[in-house]
Structure formats: structure tokens, C-alpha cells
Symmetry: C2
Subunit: 484 residues, 2 copies
Amino acid sequence: MTKLSFIRADGPSAPPLYEQLYQAISGQIAAGRIAPGEKMPGKRSLAASLGVSVNTVDAAYQQLAAEGWLKAQPRSGFYAMQYDQPLRKAPPARSQAEKVPPPVSFRFDLSTGAVDTGFFPFHSWGRIQRDLLYNQPDLLARGHPQGDPELRATIADYLLTYRGVDCTPDQLVVGAGVEYLLGLLGRLLGGAEAALEDPGYARPRIILQNSGIRCVPVPVDEQGLIPQQLSASGASIVYVTPSHQFPTGAVMPVGRRAELLRWAVEKPGRVIIEDDYDSEFRFRMKPLPSLQGMAGQNGRVIYLATFSRSLAPSIRIAYMVLPHWLMRVFKATFGSYSSTVSRFEQQTLRVFLQDGHYLRHLARSRSRYQARMQQLTAALDRAFGPGRLTFFGQHTGLHLLLRLKDGPGEEAMVRLARAAGVRLSGLSEYAMGAAAIPDSTVVIGYGGLSNQQIEPLALTLHQAWCSEAAADDCVPKALQTAPE
Amino acid sequence: MTKLSFIRADGPSAPPLYEQLYQAISGQIAAGRIAPGEKMPGKRSLAASLGVSVNTVDAAYQQLAAEGWLKAQPRSGFYAMQYDQPLRKAPPARSQAEKVPPPVSFRFDLSTGAVDTGFFPFHSWGRIQRDLLYNQPDLLARGHPQGDPELRATIADYLLTYRGVDCTPDQLVVGAGVEYLLGLLGRLLGGAEAALEDPGYARPRIILQNSGIRCVPVPVDEQGLIPQQLSASGASIVYVTPSHQFPTGAVMPVGRRAELLRWAVEKPGRVIIEDDYDSEFRFRMKPLPSLQGMAGQNGRVIYLATFSRSLAPSIRIAYMVLPHWLMRVFKATFGSYSSTVSRFEQQTLRVFLQDGHYLRHLARSRSRYQARMQQLTAALDRAFGPGRLTFFGQHTGLHLLLRLKDGPGEEAMVRLARAAGVRLSGLSEYAMGAAAIPDSTVVIGYGGLSNQQIEPLALTLHQAWCSEAAADDCVPKALQTAPE
């Protein structure tokens, strides 16, 4: 008959007795101090010996039996079961929480992902969210796999009016970021081969490749992706950013858009993925209507866009518009998936759109970004002097290309800038091997730049780039004309 | 020389003049009313004839040239470009917003997905969210791909204490729902073959199959998945719900857990996906420690869990714990992906966990659900009379199995219940073909049931099931003892 060691814990924070007993017995079985097959003490005798109630012992024994520590023999009692040590001897030793290494901090961050979160409309967003939380308890229920129908209807209206996108709410899929949606597309279009812009955005390539799609680069010129080269590539999918090619900033003219659409229908199974990247931030004019609108509800274009960039990167709400023929496949494949976006944020966004907050927010941001861009290019021209710098793609989006004449070359420019505390990338970092990359060209994102930083940034870059190469012939105007 | 038709719009809401002019000219080129190659009027003459400033015309011309409608000939002027009609003639006719069909409404919803959103702690959740929104603007910046480190550290502590899960925050990946995370896993483990519980949950199979993983069913008994059958299946991945097998409700005893862990190490490349489904709702005792904890930080177990079920289905926050060896692969594959969860909700959850709200919420919900379960089974027993009904898996989770003796059989039970306004599923609806399904057994989820519904539900079910089959020998006690 088993000898049980049991020290009873008391006090308010102590677990219930039956649980203490359960822990003690299972622990001794696991430790091998109670051998398999050993008979356990009878309930009454154990209760008496421990000074606990019979019910306490019974509850513990039932639990131990239910979990396989003990076996109940009718009209006999409880016996310890065979317990095979799992693979690990020692109990889990808690490892130190690994620190995530802090990112290298730069004095100036010109990375293209940055946006000015200072523009975020805290007040209206917070008020809407609060109202919804307290007045819409039904928002706790499971939502529609494609996203809340009201939000989709609102987005569809916005898209028709401002982007010339022609779709029904049923063609919209709301998801937690462009990457997530692109991952779904990758599986929908699986097996095919995709053409990507070169130079271009690396992430779509990674995501498509992760879903088993082969990617081929197709060069871009000042009008964006070159259709002739696309036809030559043999790809059946093309991923394009016509509103603002990343990173060159090229805006695809209507003529080329039509060429692209004709490519899509020349052969069956061809699809255009239109990432409407940065179309919100077109400074001089309304953006061109989308490719999707030109192709129509059941054309060969998938339209992809996000609110994360225009609102805040931490708000993960993106969406895509699928043509009807593909929507049917989507529903068959992903129809049972839950939406990936919290319904509170979906509905907050819906109200934010419906009440006009979003358009006001965009207009405000647009003018601020434009002013910043103009201030930046002016400051750089002053610092480097006339004719030294050329800018490209500065009329859309939150980044531009800067080319330096008679400079040390791209590689050195990036290295020297980083050494001087300026984080930026060279254009060739976005090359995929198919296109010739002009030298001495860097990509400057000014989304995260403050107005106060602009002047010192310009001088820092000039200092960094002109102290090494041809330092003599580029004394900046700013210094020439500086007061004694 | 082109004849331009231009009707100028005025008033506060009118677009700027240069934009009106842009629209007019591009529209007439698109419509073919301005032929390709035609010379456009000079800026000055056009400005004079339209009564607008030269700058207005210049802005419009520049824009039209930038977009490819016009071509600028040096020292000559602007010429209309060839514009090839895109594929669609008519302008986008706005289609009617398709209504999402309203779900068939039942008087009683016994589906297993339902939870009682009335338990949701609006007050504390809302307060935390508001505080964060106003005091943490840095939460607008892009977050860590695996989820905010502070949240992961908090979850790791919770997991060690309450689930015996042994991991560092760096092993955690936070994502927008178990389905999303399982999709990532599917791509990580791609090519392999996965064993799923039969009867079991359909969605994991769909998701794994969507990511190209072949799925084979393995039968479960009253102790959960049967290891011998798993070895025979030839699969290298197994998806299990040991805390509360869905739908049978079986809890896997420690002995079998150890068997499963031994299976995983018998051959290289084997992996266990442990979905800790419903472990929060164990009524009689603490849940068994996780398989992951038995296998250790670098074992063969992937641990998967969600907050959507314990908080609210509309809040999409789930997480997984990857062993170190797999975490390295994950980072190489998905390291550049953005997190799919809004950082505001991530941080709200973190504070909610750290301040003890979550544990209090769980304890409250657990006791309420247990009381409801007991009330339900008692009411059903009263309605059907003694010995008619057997319940299974009622001590964990938010659903149970009900077996009816001398009933009309499962298919009729489901049909008759639905006809009587009760939404429930038959056990065989979860069958995958490998296991024998006991007859006359239905799955009853009571998560969405209100206490007031329980009595009428019991009588409705009895009425539905006993009026057809063997109506005589099952007059419910409740009615027998009813007062005159």
C-alpha cells in the first residue's frame, strides 16, 4: 500500500485541497515514487489520515483517473498507472526573455516605409472607436470572411468616386495588410509565373515566391513597366504599381495602361495585379483612374490597396478587388476563413470614411507632404549648388529619387550618408537584374522627416558626399552666401 | 488646329480651372473628338479664347503631357497622342451593391462557434484602449513582424504559469487568427503529409490542404487521437486538440501524451501541432499541462492558441509557439512580413493581461459557462426522462455531445431540430471517413445560449425528437408532474 507524502497548504492563496492532493499524487507518480500498479489508499482511510473530507479525496481520485494517472478497479479501488517519462528529464527551466535588438538609430531616417504619424487624426478616430465599443456590442460576434459588408460597401463607393474602380461590395476582400492578401492571391494563382517591376519592391516577390510562384523581373522606364518586355517574359501574372512605380516614381500614362490591358487579354489566364501604391499622395492632380476601372468588373485586373500607409502603419487594414470570375474561386477556396481584421477597427474605419474624416485627413496630409517635399528639394539644391542634383518621381508619393552629378557613386553615397547618420538606400538595392540602374542615384523617403530636420539634413548630405569626391567644385551656395 | 469644347464650371464646389480643362481635353482625346497627331491650340491663344490665365492652360497641358495624352514638340507646341481605347467601351456602370444574404435565423443557436459576448469586459477593455490611443502615439509606427515584444513577453509568462508552455518571447508569433497562423505553418511544413483527428474540425484540414499539404484522417477514442493509428498513417505532421478534442470533447491523458511525444521523435522531421482549443474552459480542474511543455523549447511540438474565443470572436488575436529549430526557418521565410494585428489591440491585450483583467474574465466566464452547462443537461434530462440521454465531453469547453436512446437517429434528429428552430450539427458531420461514428449523437454548443432559453430549448428538442419516434415511451417527467 502506497505511502503518500502530502503537505497541506493553507491560507487564502492556497489552491483547493482536492487540487493540492491531485498535484501531490500525480507528482509522485510522475517522479516514480509511486510505482505502476501500486494500490492507492482507500478514500476513507486516506481522508482520515490526512484530515480531509472523503469528498476531497474522491474529487482528486476522480480527476487522477480521468487524466490517466490512476485506474479505478470496480469493487477494489484505485491503482497507479504506468507513466512513461516524456522525452525531457528536467522540468522547464524558464529561459531569459530574449531582448529584440534595438534598431540602429539614425539621426535622419529616409527609409521609404516611414510616414508622418503626427498627421494621424487621433481625436476623431478615438471618438468613433469609443462610441462603437460602448454602443455596438454586436461587433463582438464573428464577422464576414471578406470583411463587414457595411465597410465593403463604403470602400466600394470611395473607390468608384476617387479611384475609378468599378466593383460591387461582394468583390471586395478586406484583410490585415497587403502582404496577407497577396499571400492569398499567391495561393489562388499558384503554379503560374509572375513578372515584377525591375527596379521594384522586394516584398511582393518574397510573398509570391513563398506561395510557390516563380518571379521574373521586367524592366521599367520613365513610363513604368515596359509592355514589350512583359510579353517577352512569358509570365502570365504581372504585378505593377502604375500610380507611383516603386521606387522610380514613374506614373504610367494612359496609353501604356491600355497596352497592358491588351496584353492581359491576348492569352487566356493572364492577370494584372494592380497595387495602387501611394495613389493617395498625388500632389499636382487627381491620380489617373485605376487599371481596374479600365478593365471593368469582370476584367483581368486585381486591384490592391491599403489604409496602413495613409492612416498609420500599425493599423492593418488593406483590401483587394477581385474580378467576378476570380471571386468565385476565392469563395470556394477561402470562404470558410475568418476575417483577419478586428471588427472594431473595421467599423471605426467605416464611420471614419462615411463621415468624411478620411478625405479631410488625406487632403491635409497631401498638402503637408507636398510642402515638405518642396522644402526638401529646395534645401538640397541650395546645399549642393545649381546643376548638381536631379530629382525624379517627386510629384507623387512619399519618396523621390536623387541623382548626384560628379559624385562618389551610389555605393559610396549610401555608405557615407549612413556614416553621417542618414539612413537611405541606393537605387540599385531595388534592382532585380533585368534593368540597367543609373549610377549615383539614391532613394529618399521623406515621410518620416520633420520640417526642422530638412536644412541640417541637406547640409549633412552635402558634407558627406562632397568632402570625399570633387570637394572643391561644390562649395554649397548656402555657405558661400553665409554672413561673416 | 483643334476645336476645343470647354464649358467652364464655377461655384465653391467646382474643381480648379486647370483640372476642368484637363478633364475636357483628355475626355475629347479619349472620345476620339481630338484626332491623334492634331496640334493643340497655343497656350496664350487658348487662354485668351477661354478667358482663363496662361498658367491655367500651362498646368493643364503639362499634366496632359505627363500622363501621355499630349506630346510636347520643342519650339512647336503640343500634339494629341494616339489613344487606344481600352478593352471596355462603356464607362463603368455602378452595379447595385449586392446584399449579403442574411443567415437563416434559428430560435436556438447551438453551433459550436458561438460564445457569450455578454461576458466581454467592455469597461476595462475600452478604458485601456482609450488610454493607449491618447498616450501612446508611438503605437502608430510599424510593429515587429512577430508582434510587439512586450505583448509576447506577457503571453510567454502567462503560458508558463497557466499552460506549462515553456518558451521565450522570441519563439512567439502573434497573428490575426489561428487560420492565418496555420496558413503560415502550412507553407513552412509544405510538402509533408498531415494526420488530422477523425471526427474532427474541418477548417484546419481546409487550410492545410490550401497550402499544399495532404491530409489523412486518424480515428479518436475517448482518450483522443489513437497513437498506433497515427504511426500506421505514415503522416509526418499531426494536428491534435489534446485539451478538448473537437468535437468529442475527449481530454488526452498524460500517458497518451507521452506516447504522442515518442511518436514525434521516432523519425526525423515529425511535428505535432498542438491546438490548445478551449483549454481555458476546463470546469473541474486546471487543464493538463501542454504537450509543448512536455517536449520543451526545442522539441517537436508547435503550440497554437487564440484569444478570439476567450475574449470575442471579432477580436482577431491568436499566437503560436515555434520550437527554436523551426523559428529559424520562420524568420528566414516570413521575417519581412508585417504583423497582421493592429498594435493598438496588441497593446490593449498586453495591459489587459498584465493587470489581471484576463484571469478575472476567464474565471468569471468559466463559472458562468459551467452553471449553464449543468442547467442545460439537467433540463434536458428532465424533459426526456431518466436514461434517455447520455452526455459526453461536458466537463471542458463550450459544447457537449448528446446521445439519444431509442431516438429517430442522427440525421432525423438534426432535421427535426432545425425544423423546430434549433440549429445544431450531427456528430457524423465532423467525420472524415476513418472512424466509426456512434449513431444518434449530436453536437450541442451552448456558448451562445441564454439561461432563459434553456428550459424551452429542452422541451422543444423533446417535442421534435419524441413526437416522431417512440413517442409513447418518452413522455417527459416535466409534463407528467405538471400540476392540473
